[in-house]
Amino acid sequence: MRTDNATLFAEGTVSTLRLIVYLALAVALMVLDHRGSYLELLRRTGSAVVEPIYRLAAFPADVARATRTAVVTQDQLAGENRQLREALLLAQARLNRLDTVVAQNARLKALLDAQKNLGLSVQFSRLVDVDLDPFRHRIVLDTGANQGVEVGQPVIDASGVMGQIVEVLPNTAVAMLITDPTHAIPVVVERSGVRTIAYGSGAIDRLELPNVPISADVKVGDRLLTSGLGGRFPAGFPVGEIRSISNDASGMFAAAVARPAAALDRSGEVLLLHDQAQPYGPPPTPPEEVGPPADLAGPAAGDDPAAAGRQSPPTAREAGVGGADDGTRDPSRHPSSPPAQNPAAATPSPTPETTE
């Protein structure tokens, strides 16, 4: 063992000056990065190194899971099989019923000549089981820019919304979960149609709805769906279920707590939605030549501008992740802010996906 008595009392190589220099350097980097998000750029540049390390870190967990699957008893398999069969049956039944609803919906929409409903275009993706930081709710997915993943895509699993993509590397993507403390998602109460925003709480099984109007019709057990406001998440996906409601400190609002519908801590496979969110509310005024017959167009045209004007401004703030000061760190938010998007989405032509 090397003995160096020099450092017993003398400062040796660690001088306070050097500390200050390095601290200043670190702070400067942080400030620069906070303004310009160079870290993502750096990570993307170094993705040839970063991505294998993610895979390597996930490897033990993969092995453990594979082992567990390999040694699982036949009894368990049979049980799981039975469960899955029941679930499939249920899903089939629901799907069958849904088919009729979809057909009906298509008929009605055709009748109204409203914008085409986008077919659900999804991409399958698997979780890379690494933990970036236990106090930031991020998941790493094994698809990236090469597979067509883009920042801002909603991530869902079988039972609900999980989050959205915040960063894309060539073969990896990082998604922020809806429970991240800086995440907010516009929701609507399925039963009563009350709209509000669900914020992440930092706990994986908890969403907070801090500003529900006191008079609003919200009960424990109500299901929350995405409202489609804000243009990030398409409308109608389950977000969670109200667990409790209480008055907030000011007494002006009711503060509700919800449990996320998606299996945020258990899902191994997720779906990335490709279609853009549909604008909420009645369809904007269609161009004259493709419009409905004159007798139908009259009331709709009068109604639309007001509705669009009423709903667009709040959605721009509601949509994204994070608080106001987080704005510079999420460049993804700007391209999909609703005022820019709604006109594009409203015209039927630029949607390649076909209606169901």
């Binding site: 350097l25 400067a28 942080m30 750096l42 967990a61 106090f135 608080g323």
Partner: protein, 162 residues
């Protein structure tokens, strides 16, 4: 020469393993318990190889960590520089502490690291983490003897094999 190379392998290998451990998934309930492996390994090397682990090294190491898992470039670099500075300052005393005292010192270091993290995140406008945030230093303290003994043992073996 061979011995030096083996030592170098151990040095960098332990750092890489620390990163992998840091990113290793755990069941949800255990996640807050995950010690700051990167910090523990850096503390060890700062105590044992101060001529190699200076502030500059801690800084670069932290930057690597930021690129791997970070949200803000420089956050881990700052944390590790602070950590390395304190360790190097009190190195002579830390080295000869009995194990339990060393573990307590590590607890203090990791708690300080948590405070630094909280400050950085507060300034960058992130939400304050839950109280579970403060559990990790405790588990770090509990893991310290194992980290120390394992790395020490490996180093002695490498030396003995020569």
């Amino acid at each position: 020469m061979n011995r030096m190379r083996a030592q170098g392998w151990l040095f960098f290998g332990s750092l890489v393993v620390a990163f992998l451990l840091q990113m290793m998934p755990l069941p949800q309930v255990l996640l807050p318990l995950k010690p700051y492996w990167v910090g523990l390994v850096l503390i060890y090397w700062a105590i044992e190889l101060p001529e190699r682990v200076g502030l500059g090294f801690a800084f670069l190491f932290g930057l690597a960590g930021d690129v791997l898992t970070g949200e803000l470039l420089g956050e881990q670099a700052l944390r590790l520089v602070v950590l390395a500075f304190i360790v190097l300052r009190f190195r002579a005393r830390l080295r000869f502490f009995p194990m339990w005292q060393q573990a307590l010192a590590v607890l203090a270091l990791l708690l300080n690291d948590r405070v630094v993290t909280l400050m950085v995140r507060g300034f960058s406008g992130e939400a304050t983490p839950s109280t579970a945030f403060w559990i990790a230093p405790l588990s770090g303290m509990l893991m310290w003897p194992f980290v120390f003994l394992l790395l020490d043992d490996l180093r002695l073996r490498l030396r003995g094999s020569e």
